[in-house]
Symmetry: C2
Subunit: 204 residues, 2 copies
């Protein structure tokens, strides 16, 4: 997230900082400089208040990280469940799961980068819970490909490797996507969904 120096959305009202403002500032800075590379002084400076004032709106620095990570993982799970509920065929499910996952990483870049890079810094038991949520998504995503391979809808050498490749290629969108670049989030999401079907050799 180095290059695009996009302005940070300041507090909504004219006066007082809210908990949402603090979370938003933390998202920007954790994504840009990393959790340990960001001090609460940086967060406070972005909000134009002094460091101790942050404690009116948050529990602790690690609490900020926990809230960002857990909320994001819950969003992803919710989106994934929406896909399974509305689509039945393996090809449809894989295309949709890929599309919403890629879309999420293009439209929530800061949160996605934080989940990818900073989750490891969570104290237990939050770390274990976060890892379990990620593994759950991993498992269910791979299951779609296994289903497609079993039914003959897909022709894929290694469902496991294909699953890794597709998911990680979506995750990486957060790393290179630029809001002012040549693609809209929907462009990327739809092309990635097509690429996913190619990767697993989906029969037409």
């Amino acid at each position: 997230m180095q290059p695009t120096a996009h302005a940070h959305r300041r507090r909504t009202s004219g006066r007082s900082v809210t908990a949402a403002d603090v979370l938003d500032a933390a998202k920007t800075l954790f994504a840009l400089r990393g959790y340990h590379g960001t001090s609460l002084k940086h967060v406070a400076a972005l909000l134009e208040i002094r460091t101790p004032s942050l404690y009116n709106h948050m529990e602790s620095k690690s609490g900020l990280l926990r809230d960002i990570v857990m909320e994001t993982l819950a969003d992803v799970r919710h989106e994934f469940e929406g896909v399974l509920a509305t689509t039945a065929t393996p090809a449809g499910q894989l295309a949709e799961a890929t599309r919403v996952y890629a879309l999420h990483h293009a439209t929530h870049r800061r949160e996605a980068l934080i989940v990818s890079h900073e989750t490891r810094h969570l104290p237990e038991p939050d770390l274990g819970q976060a890892q379990e949520m990620r593994r759950d998504h991993e498992r269910r995503f791979r299951q779609i490909i296994l289903d497609g391979a079993a039914s003959g809808d897909f022709s894929v050498a290694s469902p496991k490797l294909a699953s890794f490749a597709i998911r990680e290629m979506c995750v990486s969108v957060a790393r290179w996507f630029r809001e002012d670049g040549s693609f809209t989030p929907d462009d990327v999401a739809e092309e990635y969904a097509r690429q996913a079907l190619k990767l697993v050799g989906s029969k037409p």
Copy 2:
């Protein structure tokens, strides 16, 4: 790099720590906990010496990071140039470039994770130089796909997106690959090379 707690290779001789030992310990810890999440005390503890003794073998903490990043990027460039020198067709070049890039990320996981996540913490001018080397690889990799699209060897909707997808899927190998898992580095590298050709709709 959280799960596999693989043992750290200790100094080669029976007695004295070398500069290579320090670099090796730093690779392990920077990859595991991140640059700012690792203190020199951690590095020293892994080598079973006191913190100030490190300065007999290194310039500074940021110097360690610089050496790791620059050496890794130079390796990648060298490997890529070897591919271009020995292969002529777009399909051959793409397959080989993908294979060696994926292989590198499976066999040099620590270094790859550090380049991906910690390069941003380099002080200038090292940061600019590192970014330029990465962009150079990016450009030359994409050029292979553009060549293949121009010659009709490939049939691809967006060469730019395909290039992002393929490179990032290789980079991500460092994130999920386990030395004690079901795949050898060569398994992954060769399957990824095939997947790359599928992604760009390689004709023959």
